[in-house]
Symmetry: C2
Subunit: 198 residues, 2 copies
Amino acid sequence: MTAQGLLLVISGPSGAGKGTVCRVLMSRQPQVRYSVSATTRPPRTGEVEGVHYYFKTQEQFEAMIAQDKLIEWAKVYDNYYGTPKEPVMEALRSGRDIILEIDIQGAFQVKEKYPEGVYVFIAPPSLEELRRRIEGRATDATEVIAKRMKAAAGELDQAGKYDYIIVNDTVETAALKLEAIVTAEKCRASRLSSLKPY
Amino acid sequence: MTAQGLLLVISGPSGAGKGTVCRVLMSRQPQVRYSVSATTRPPRTGEVEGVHYYFKTQEQFEAMIAQDKLIEWAKVYDNYYGTPKEPVMEALRSGRDIILEIDIQGAFQVKEKYPEGVYVFIAPPSLEELRRRIEGRATDATEVIAKRMKAAAGELDQAGKYDYIIVNDTVETAALKLEAIVTAEKCRASRLSSLKPY
C-alpha cells in the first residue's frame, strides 16, 4: 500500500519568496508538484490546458462551485480562480505531494475541509527586508508597493494560525526547512497509523 | 532572545538502533546532546560524575524523588535511574536540544509534564529483522533474546502514542529523518509564537 501524499498549503506575503522556495523543493523532491488551478480568465500565449490551468467558462466554473468540486476558490476582479478537488485527491492517493500556493483566505477554506494538510507560512525576515525586495521589482508603482506592504502586515498577523512558519532569510535555507517539514510529516505517527506497519 | 531548545524523547525496542541513530544526529547537529541520568548504581571504571551519570546514594535519590527534582525515574532491580530536571531545563533555556533516550513508561511520565517535548519512536523494519539484529549480538543468551522479542512486540503496540515513528531501515536514512524532525519542529508556529517575530 502506498502512503498517502501530503497536501502542502503554502501562504505568505507577496515578495516573501514562496514561489522560489517551492521550486527549489520540487527540484530536490520530484514527487512534489504544484496543483493546477481552474480559472475563467482567457489563456495567455503558451499556456496549456491542464498544465498551467484548467480553463473554464463562467458557467462551468459556477457549476463546479455548486457541485462542491473545488477545494477553495475566489473571484479576483472579473475572473474566478480555484483548485479542483479531484485531481488533487487522485495525486495524493497515488503518493504524490501536492503544493497549493494560495492566499490566507484560501488556506483557511482548505483547512476546514482538510485539517490533515500541512499549513506552512513563508515569512520575510522583516518588513524592512520585504519592502526592499518589493521595491527591487522595478515593475511595481509606488501605490502598488504601499498596498502590498499593508497587505503583508495583515498577513503576518495570521502566520501563527499555520502549522509551521519558515522565515525566508535565504532561499536555500528556507527550502531545506520546507524539505525537512515534508520528511518529518511523513514520519508522523498519526499518518503512519493508517498503514498499520505493526 | 534565544529560541528554547527541543526536548527530544526517544524510545524503541532494544535492537532498533536508537543509540546509533542518536549518535549520527549529534555528529551532524552539535547543539543536540544526551541528557545525563542520575543513578544509585556504583560508577564503573572510567565513568565521570556529571558526564556519564550523576552518582547518588539511595537517600539522595529518594530525596530527589520526594522534592520532584526528576523528570522521570524508575527502579531497575536494586538501583534507581532517573533524569534530573534542572540541568535539562537549563540546557533547553540556553537553546540546546536534549535527547532523553528512555523506555516507554519513562516517556509517558515525561509527556504528562512536558507535552511540548518531541516524542519519537524508533522502530525496526520488522520483528524478523529485529530478531536478526538481537541474535547478531553474540552476547545475548536464548532466553534473553526471547524476553527482548516479547518486550519489543509490546512496545511496538505503543508506537502510535508518539508524535513520530521512524522505521530504522538504514541508520543514515533514519538519522536524516530524525534531523528533519528537529529542523521541522523548530519551524512550528506554536514554538515560534513565544518569540513573537512580528
